[in-house]
């Protein structure tokens, strides 16, 4: 009974992964098709020319650089804000907490276009010109909420007595933050940073309205979709996927190593406890 069930589950899992990856494969495959329309069908022969075109596409590279700069700026601003917000929300209770929490989470649920438009209008009124700096601020307004949620979840596993212990041992508030709280939050900060980075790279709606006259990669890709697309886009996508895969593999190897070390330590702790009882 369980055996057939497991087989069914495995088949389903396989099918699901196929479903997730097949479109990406088809899109990647089109990068090698010598056909100016991006598709794998009809196949008109293998070519590297779309990669060559991509390399020569200056606008794309400028957009790429802009995207990275914006993403880094978003990480630098959103992570401290999200962390501060998580700490704040974690140390208050009652109705104020509920209201504050609602206000903080709301931007996640707000359509990006609305965020972009409102950011643009507001800064326009205080005479700040549009541009990538506004894209950063617009993106931070909802990405900070993701960071806040991640850090908050991590804070819930934090023992506040650790901070009190450090204070009691004479640490200043700054030292408590640096030596006790931040190290504990590191995984959440890293995850928050990564999410912020990828959310920013991925962002289209907010950026579209706030970017002024600069391009970012998604906006550029979209304008390509609108104005004459060639398989250079597919070449770009394929390269992004490959980079992601490499980064993911690298992360996974590191994670497994850390997990092994921690497991060994815990086993030793259990052995010590067992020895004590004898």
């Amino acid at each position: 009974m369980h055996k057939t069930r497991n087989i069914l589950f495995n088949v389903y899992m396989g099918a699901f992964l196929l479903y997730l990856f097949a479109p990406l494969a088809i899109m990647g495959g089109a990068a090698f098709n010598d056909n100016k329309l991006p598709s794998v069908y009809p196949w008109k022969g293998f070519t590297w020319r779309w990669f060559a075109d991509l390399m020569n596409d200056q606008v794309m590279w400028t957009s790429f650089r802009n995207t990275i700069l914006v993403a880094l700026a978003v990480v630098v601003i959103a992570v401290p804000i999200g962390t501060a917000a998580a700490i704040l929300i974690n140390s208050i209770t009652g109705r104020v907490r509920a209201v504050l929490y609602g206000v903080m989470v709301a931007p996640i649920l707000m359509p990006g276009a609305v965020i972009g438009i409102s950011t643009l209008l507001f800064w326009n009124q205080v005479s700040v010109p549009s541009g990538l700096h506004l894209s950063v601020l617009g993106q931070v307004s909802y990405i900070a909420a993701f960071v806040m949620l991640l850090v908050l979840a991590r804070l819930q596993s934090f023992d506040p007595a650790l901070e009190e212990a450090a204070l009691d041992l004479g640490a200043s508030h700054g030292q408590v933050l640096r030596r006790i709280l931040l190290p504990h939050l590191t995984p959440a900060l890293a995850a928050g940073g990564a999410i912020a980075f990828f959310q920013s790279i991925e962002n289209f709606n907010v950026t579209l309205f706030t970017r002024g006259t600069s391009n970012t990669l998604t906006v550029y890709v979209f304008s390509k979709v609108r104005s004459g697309i060639t398989p250079t886009i597919n070449a770009l996508a394929l390269m992004l996927i490959v980079m992601t895969l490499v980064a993911a593999t690298w992360y996974e190897i590191g994670r497994r190593r850390r997990a092994r070390v921690e497991a060994a330590r815990e086993a030793e702790g259990r052995r010590a406890a067992a020895a004590e009882e004898m």
Partner: protein, 311 residues
């Protein structure tokens, strides 16, 4: 607050509060207030802004109810304002997307949480995460390639004889929104999977075994034990997927049919095509308001709280 002061001292607490205040006030509340204020003002040439014609009214909101069109709903012809129709379609098909992603995700979440060997779990999760890192524009575009009339899907289906002639997938087989639904499901299914996985995972395996031990059939175990436990995760996934779908602009723009219209496209049209930022602002607020009502209703029905959701 007292607690915070004690832990972090006045200067650090001040810094935290300042950061949060900057975020919520300057980045969230004030821009939205600006938008809100703009939504009550008429669209005027720049020279007239602030002049005698620049007065507050509900005119921009009233446009939502203009332009009646005939809508064939299950055989009944009803006349509704065109933008209301767009809004209702957006809500309905976002609901469809949500439901499909749930059906796809639940068995998988259960599999990941309780069936799969713990050793291979991290690798699987990592694999699942990879598509999330490919930009939404490109994911929607992948489906555009697949679904086109002269595309690979038709080529394969006709080639193996399943179809005798190509189908216009993008224009819809069942409804005008087929391609958009397919694209949205593909784009957001993982936002359903991971919250459900998280909540199923926190269920003690003993509870499942106890249920089986007491003679429950597998579906009874799911219905009475696992689903109720996973409710916050499900609600969380549903709200996320629903709001993301309804708020998507890329997917409906890349995978439209000739009769589809997404509410975000309407907003974009006001903003960019008609240049009427004021009506665009009004529509944005209507959108937020109406979607909030929908989400609140769902949360009330499922008896879940906001704090259960955003985890």
């Amino acid at each position: 607050m007292q607690d915070m002061l004690r832990r972090y001292g006045s200067s650090l607490t001040g810094a935290f509060v300042a950061l949060v205040a900057f975020w919520l006030l300057v980045l969230v509340i004030l821009p939205n207030l600006t938008l809100f204020e703009q939504s009550f003002r008429p669209y005027l040439p720049v020279v007239d802004v602030g002049g005698p014609k620049d007065t507050y009214s509900f005119n921009n909101y009233a446009k939502f109810l203009n332009n009646p069109v005939v809508w064939n709903l299950f055989g009944f012809e009803v006349t509704v304002p065109v933008h209301l129709k767009t809004f209702l379609s957006t809500v309905f098909f976002s609901g469809v997307v949500t439901f499909i992603t749930f059906l796809l995700s639940y068995p998988l979440a259960y599999y990941l949480a309780k069936v799969v060997e713990p050793r291979s779990l991290p690798t699987l999760i990592l694999l699942l995460f990879i598509p999330l890192w490919v930009s939404e524009a490109l994911r929607a575009f992948a489906w555009y390639i697949i679904l086109t009339f002269n595309g690979p899907l038709n080529a394969v289906l006709v080639g193996i004889g399943l179809l005798d002639k190509p189908v216009r997938w993008q224009n819809g087989v069942l409804t005008a929104y087929d391609a958009i639904v397919i694209g949205l499901v593909y784009t957001y299914v993982l936002f359903m999977l991971f919250p459900i996985y998280g909540s199923v995972q926190s269920l003690d395996r003993n509870q499942i075994e106890a249920s089986e031990d007491l003679g429950a059939k597998w579906w009874q175990t799911h219905w009475r034990v696992i689903l109720p436990h996973a409710k916050p995760g499900i609600a969380s996934g549903c709200v996320m997927v629903f709001m993301l779908s309804a708020g998507s602009l890329l997917v409906p723009s890349v995978l439209p049919s000739t009769s589809s219209n997404w509410f975000t496209q309407t907003i974009q049209q006001w903003m960019l095509e008609s240049q009427d930022w004021n009506t665009g602002a009004a529509y944005s607020f209507l959108y937020i308001l109406l979607c909030t009502v929908v989400v609140a209703l769902v949360m009330w029905l499922f008896k879940v709280k906001l704090s259960d959701i955003a985890k």
